[in-house]
Symmetry: C2
Subunit: 333 residues, 2 copies
Amino acid sequence: MAGRPTLEQVAERAGVSRATVSRVVNGSPTVAPTIKEAVERAIAELGYVPNQAARSLVTQRTDSIALVLSESATRVFSDEAVLPGIVRGVSQELDAADKQLVLMLAGSMASHDRIERYAMSRHVDGVIIASMHGADPLPNSLHRMGIPVLCGGRPLGRSPVPYVEVDNVGGARLAVRHLVQSGRSRIATIGGPQDMVAGIDRLNGYREELRGSSLRSIVAIGDFTRESGAAAMRQLLEDDPQLDAVFVASDLMALGALNALQAAGRRVPDDVALVGFDDIEAARYADPALTTIRQPIVGQGRELARQLLRLAGGEEIAHSVVLPTELVTRASA
Amino acid sequence: MAGRPTLEQVAERAGVSRATVSRVVNGSPTVAPTIKEAVERAIAELGYVPNQAARSLVTQRTDSIALVLSESATRVFSDEAVLPGIVRGVSQELDAADKQLVLMLAGSMASHDRIERYAMSRHVDGVIIASMHGADPLPNSLHRMGIPVLCGGRPLGRSPVPYVEVDNVGGARLAVRHLVQSGRSRIATIGGPQDMVAGIDRLNGYREELRGSSLRSIVAIGDFTRESGAAAMRQLLEDDPQLDAVFVASDLMALGALNALQAAGRRVPDDVALVGFDDIEAARYADPALTTIRQPIVGQGRELARQLLRLAGGEEIAHSVVLPTELVTRASA
DNA sequence: CTGAAAGCGCTTACAG
DNA sequence: CTGAAAGCGCTTACAG
């Protein structure tokens, strides 16, 4: 088959110059209809598809963007329920814009280097970094190199890098307010890891909302896994056997907490009301079904893609976009 | 900053030709140590990173491969538990080989076109297609175009495209054998969708194993979702109220079936033994914990990547690789 | 509206 | 061991 056809061959077949073929391919309006037709026929007959590398070399664009997920994050099962949704949202929006999605799982510091080199090699027009632990230096260093970069979730520490996040603080406040309003008076919380912004903010929301009431805070910390939720719940029961409600910073931890409560002979919601966060599928199937805070997961992915595309296109974008969360009332509270 | 530095600038700074810089960058052994050092210094000082597009244009390689997931598949929650594992496995192996992963969610037939064009534009060195429904024409058409392509899961219908799959038939037989050996005599099954190879093969395995015994088959079909598992279970109880065991073709459907059984007042495993397939996280936390067939998910991803890399490198590879499954015995059977 | 020509940033025979 | 030169397949001012 002598390799795949080139512009040159299409031009020859259509009896025009390469420039003209290029114009047709790129939809330039200044091509005579008859010529356009001839070129299109030649393209179809030859099955011509433009070589992206050649195009990128001259346009300096690749029409693809990288989505970086931290590998350690994908280990947390809670994230496993969230990250696929983000990937799907990003993918949908990118498809619509005819851009490609390059997925990079950042395992270690070593892979940070790989990612930097990759972005620097101009293989992508921009980078979305989702799901960070701690104060990851990657967003800032990419930003410093002049690469369009956007974070999913507010970066810890001061950072000039724009981000899209869900309203963790507001969601937590919603949950606690619901518990207060339903007459609970000893409201504990199981917080997430304090090196992740979702963990930090949901705990802050809890504290902020309690501050408005006369209730005192009762806190245990987990790591977003089911087991850690169960362990934290046992701890809380020891710390305050009289507690009558718990706001748990993730549904998965809430499911663990639910098991621990039932094992301790507490009825949910009669003795202890329980509110989770995330609204994962399993929340609906828990017994009792879990009241929780829903966050727009696919929506966050879409918004990330839209913002990055604008940024890569040279537009000014808001430094932060915060997506609303909502209370989903079920049986557990 | 006048754009990012080029080979040319490195050459000038190091006082050598572009050819020499290129040799150093690509690790050619025929460069004098002193020169090599000078070049490396210049590279470091300038922060030079090769432009991939330029490189690809001449080498005809991109060092990246595409992973295609069907979007409809990601809608099935059962797959949500499986696909991230495959992505992770592929990513691990590709990272080790310093290749990039381009993720494409194939939503519709329209996106099939996009994927073909993308592969044809030589933006990737090969394509892995995971998770197909029906007899998807994509693998064959890519193959016909001369693009290295590999399927996760055996393609339906005759196809020259090589594949990597888990032993669905063998796993199902293992499950049924376990039920037979534990003395069950009315063993039903809930099959998966019959347009997916996992659905078809697991049902075949059930039938094959029963054929060896004197037991008759009792069959209902679901679509791999939890709800469909519950519905199918209700159907089975109606069809044969005396059944004492069920092999369910996915854990998620098995969880639905478990609910339905308990709602119908049957004790598991006392009245009815239950075996699932997949070994997803939730199987371990069911009550009773679910006996199931474990498949190597990340392992399948890794094997896919390894095989595709070989294929793209021009090696001959086996037309099929079948990875073993195993029985994980817990409380439900 | 169309074409000739330069150039994007690399790699790789080919000489020397 | 090193360099000059050709060429990978496109796009885009610049003329006409």
